[in-house]
Symmetry: D2
Subunit: 298 residues, 4 copies
Amino acid sequence: MNEILPDVQAWKPKAGFKLTRVGVTGVKKPVLISRSETGRVSNLVATFDVFVNLPETQKGSHMSRNLEAIGEIMDECVKNPARGLENVCALVARSLLEKHEYATTSEVRAMADYFLERTSPSGKRSIEVYTLIAEARAKKGGGVRKMIGVKVIGMNACPCAMETTKELMAADLGAAAAAVKGMPYITHNQRNITTLLLEVPEEAPVDADDLVDIVENSLSSPTFEILKRKDEGEVVLRAHRNPKFVEDVVRDVLRKVVETYSGLADDTIVVVRSESEESIHKHNAFAERETMLGEIRV
Amino acid sequence: MNEILPDVQAWKPKAGFKLTRVGVTGVKKPVLISRSETGRVSNLVATFDVFVNLPETQKGSHMSRNLEAIGEIMDECVKNPARGLENVCALVARSLLEKHEYATTSEVRAMADYFLERTSPSGKRSIEVYTLIAEARAKKGGGVRKMIGVKVIGMNACPCAMETTKELMAADLGAAAAAVKGMPYITHNQRNITTLLLEVPEEAPVDADDLVDIVENSLSSPTFEILKRKDEGEVVLRAHRNPKFVEDVVRDVLRKVVETYSGLADDTIVVVRSESEESIHKHNAFAERETMLGEIRV
Amino acid sequence: MNEILPDVQAWKPKAGFKLTRVGVTGVKKPVLISRSETGRVSNLVATFDVFVNLPETQKGSHMSRNLEAIGEIMDECVKNPARGLENVCALVARSLLEKHEYATTSEVRAMADYFLERTSPSGKRSIEVYTLIAEARAKKGGGVRKMIGVKVIGMNACPCAMETTKELMAADLGAAAAAVKGMPYITHNQRNITTLLLEVPEEAPVDADDLVDIVENSLSSPTFEILKRKDEGEVVLRAHRNPKFVEDVVRDVLRKVVETYSGLADDTIVVVRSESEESIHKHNAFAERETMLGEIRV
Amino acid sequence: MNEILPDVQAWKPKAGFKLTRVGVTGVKKPVLISRSETGRVSNLVATFDVFVNLPETQKGSHMSRNLEAIGEIMDECVKNPARGLENVCALVARSLLEKHEYATTSEVRAMADYFLERTSPSGKRSIEVYTLIAEARAKKGGGVRKMIGVKVIGMNACPCAMETTKELMAADLGAAAAAVKGMPYITHNQRNITTLLLEVPEEAPVDADDLVDIVENSLSSPTFEILKRKDEGEVVLRAHRNPKFVEDVVRDVLRKVVETYSGLADDTIVVVRSESEESIHKHNAFAERETMLGEIRV
C-alpha cells in the first residue's frame, strides 16, 4: 500500500514563501564521542535541533528524514566514535543535505552534559560537570562551518564591593583593618555561568577540554563538587584574590583565546558570555562579546 | 443539538478505580487581591492547578467546570477583591465541590509574582519581587484548610568558610590579620531562595507581607534591585556579620514564626525550606523542616 | 563617605577588549501599558534584559544605572502608561544611553504574559493568555529600532497523516469510508506555539492584538480555556478542516503580515516561527522564516 | 593545619530546632547500571538530591560528606554496576547514615534520561527516550524503602470529543458519515506524560522496563521517533481506536500494576499520574492516584 500514499510534503504550498529553517527540536540521543590523543571515549546524552531550509515550491519538509539522519550517524558513532560533538553535528548536517534533495542549507545544534576530572587546591580528585554546545551549518556544494563551545559553572567575586568594604572597614574599625598587607576584603561572590563558543576549522581541531580550561582560569575561581574544610577556605581565598566583574571574565577569556589559538584564521567566530547570579540582587549581571578572532588580535 | 450530546464523563469506567485528584494544571489568570488594613489592591498574574477527587463509578471528571469555577471567582474578585491569594484559592475550592457533584474533596494551588516596596540600608526605595504560593483544600460538608506562603530570594554567607579563612589568613599574614577586632572575614556567599508556608485559620488571617519580613530577617541579608556603591558595601557587611548555613536560615524562620504566631493552633502546618545556590559548588545546599506549630513551641 | 569610594568600573581593564553588551538580565517589574483607541490599560508583569556596549577603555559598566533606568521609566508609566511594551523598551533604551555616557548602543528586551478576551465558536467568552515580546535598540545620536511580538499557543492538525488515514480506512473499511463528501479524516493534532515578531516604525504603530489575530487565524484552530461539549467538537472540526504543517502556519502568517502591513517599509524585519509539540513524537516540529517585508512582497 | 580548623557544623545552634532534611540538590553524575537477565549495562547521567535529618543539637550537617557518599557509590558502580537506579539510591542512602553519625534518616532521589529500543507498527526499530525516577529512604537500625519509577511521553486521544464530532458530522453530512462501521471519528489528541512510581521490595526486584511497557500499553498509543508515512497513519489509527481520558490512562496503569505485581505486599506504594498537554487548551489535563497495592486489589 505504501506506494500509493500521497507525498503531501511535496505539494505546492498555497502561500509560496521559502523558509529559513524547518526541522525538529528536542531530539534526545545517546552519543559516543572520542578524544583522539587519549583514546578516551565519552558517553553523552545529547539533545539535538536539526533544520534544513525549504524552497517556496515545496509544501513541507520530510520531517522523518531528520530523525533518520540523526539515527544513522549515532549508529556509526557506536562503531567509530566521532571526535568531538561538533563533528557529530557536521556529519548530521551533511547527511541532512543528502536526504533533503530540495534543501541547500542545513543546521544542526547539540547540547550535552559533559564530565571532566578535576583536582581541588589540596589535591582531592572530583568529577565536575560541564555543558558541551556544538553546531554545524552545511551548504549544498559548499563546506561545513562548525562551532564547539562549553558552558562552565564557576565563581566570581565582585572587585567593586571589595574596594567599598575596605573603605567602610577603615572607617569603622580604624586604620588597622585597612593596613594588613595582602589581606583580601570581603565582597559579594556568586555562582557564575560562562560560555565560550569557538568556530572550528576542518584542519586544526579544537579540544573542548581546552575551552573548559580557558574559562575556569578566567573566573575568580573554578568550583568543585567536594571541598573539605581547608579546600573550601582555599577556594574562597583564591576567589577573593582574583575579584572579577563579568566584564573581566569575558575579557580574560578573550585574551586567552587569542593567545591559545594563534593558528586559527582571522574570520574565526568567537562568542563569550558570562552571567553572574548576583548574591546581592535578584537579577543577574551579564557581559558578552560576539566577534571574530581578527578583530581581537593586537 | 446540545442536549443529545453524550455525557462521556459520566460513563462507567472499565477499570473502576477511584482517583485522588483529577483536574487542570497551568491555568494562568489575572487576579485582584486586596490588603485589608491598607485597602491596597494588587494585580497578580497567578498560575492555578485545581483538582477534585473522582469516585470509581465515574469515567471522567468534567474538566471545563474547573475553568468555569476559576473564571467565576476571578470575575467576582474584579468587583470585590478577595483578601489574599489563599482566600481566592478557598473560594475556588468551594466552587469546585459545588460544580462537581460526585467529588468529596477539592484542591487548589496558585503561584504568582508579587511586588513589595523595600528600602536599602541608605534609605533608597526599590520595588522587590517575591513569589506568593497559596493552597486550599476543601471537603464536602467540611471546612477548607488554607496555606499561604512566600518564596524569597536573598543572600547567605557561609559561617564555616569564614572560620577557615580566619585561620588561613592568620597563618599567611601573621597575627595582625586575625587580630582586628570585629572584622568580618571573607567567605563564600550566594543567592539563597527560602520558602515559608503557613497554614491559615479562617478567623485570624495571616498577611503574606509578614511572611516576607520573617524570611528576609532570617537571611544573612535581604537583597535589593538598586544598590549604589555605599549601599552595596553595607549589604555585603551585613551579610558577613550574619553568616548563616541554610540550616540556620530555616531555624531562624521557625523561631520567628513561633514568636509571631502565638495565637495560631498547635496543629497549624509550617513548612520552611532554604536552598543556597552555592558559589563554590555547581550544586545547591538545602535544608527543610515540615512540622506543626505545636511541635516547635517550647 | 560616598565621594571617596573608588569608581572601580571606570578603571582601565587589563585585557582591553570592547564588549558587545553588558547589563542585567531577569529583572521583573510591574508595568502599565495603554491601548490608545480604547483607552484600556493593561497591568503586566514584565521580565527585562537590558544592555549597553562597553568601550575597551572602561573596566566595568555601572550596573545599578540599568536598574535606575528601568525603575524611572516604570514610575513614569504609572502616571502616563506608554502605548505598547515596545515603547516602554524604547524609553528604557534611550535612558540607558543617557546614563551610560561611555556607551554608544543600548538594547532592551521584555517579555510578559498578556490577556485578551476571546469568544468560542458558540459565543462563550473567555480570557486567553498570550506572551508579549518586545525589543528596542538605540544608537547614540541615532534612532531607536523597535520590535513587537507575540507568542500564541494554538493547535495544528497534520495534513499528511490525514491523507494516509484516508487511504488506510478505504483499505480497511471499504469505499464507504472514503466516500463521505466533506468528511475530515482523523489525524494527529497537537499544541502549537507560534511566534510573530515585527519591527515597528515610529510613525505607524503596530498593535500587538492584531499580531495575535494574525497568528490565531493562521493555525488549524485557536484554543480556548473553556469549551463545553459542543464547542469542543466545533474546535476539533475546525482544526481538521484546516490541517496545517508548521510550514503552512509560518507561511500563512507571512501572507497575512504582507497583506496587513502594506504601509510598512521594505526593510521592516519579520520573524515567524512555529513549533508543534507533536502528539506522535517525543520531539517537536519546527519551522521559521527570518526576513524583511520587502523580501516577501510579491 | 587541618586539624585546628573549627568544626562549625558541630556547634550548638542558637535556635535549636531539628530539621527534616538537610543536604544537597542538583548533583549531576555519570552512573552505570546493569540489567541482570541481559547483562546489559546502561550509561546514565543522573541528577541526585540527597538528604539526612539533623537533630536540634547540631548547627549544621556536613555537606561535603553527601558528595563523598555519592562519589564513592558511583566509583563502585563503575566496577560493579548496581542493578537499577533505585539500588544505586539505596546504596547512597545507607552510606549517608554511616557518614552522618548524628542522622537517623536519609533520603536519596535520582532522575535520569533512559533509552530503550522500540519497534514501530510496521517493524521499524528506533531508540526512544524515557525518564527514570528513583528514590530510597533509610532509617538508622532499620531497612531501606525504595521506589522506582518511569516518566513516559506518549499520546492520548479524547473519547468525549470523538462522540461529539460523530454527532456533529451526522448532523452536517447526513447519516452516511455516522454509519461507516468501525470508523474512528476525529478528536483532539496530544502529547501525554504519564508517570508510574512503584515501591520495590528487597527480595523481588521490579524492572523499570516493565513499568515503561505498562505505561505505553495504557496510553492511546506510544509515540515513536521515526514514523514513515504508513507508520504514522497506523499510530494515528491506533490512538483513535483507543481514545482515553487522563483518568482512563491512570486507571489502566493501575489495573496492569495489580495484574503484574501480584507478588508484592499490600502496603506497596503506587503512584500514577497522567498529564495531557491538551491540544485544544493552553492548560493541561491531569489525573493522579496515590495509593497502596492492597487498596486497589479486588
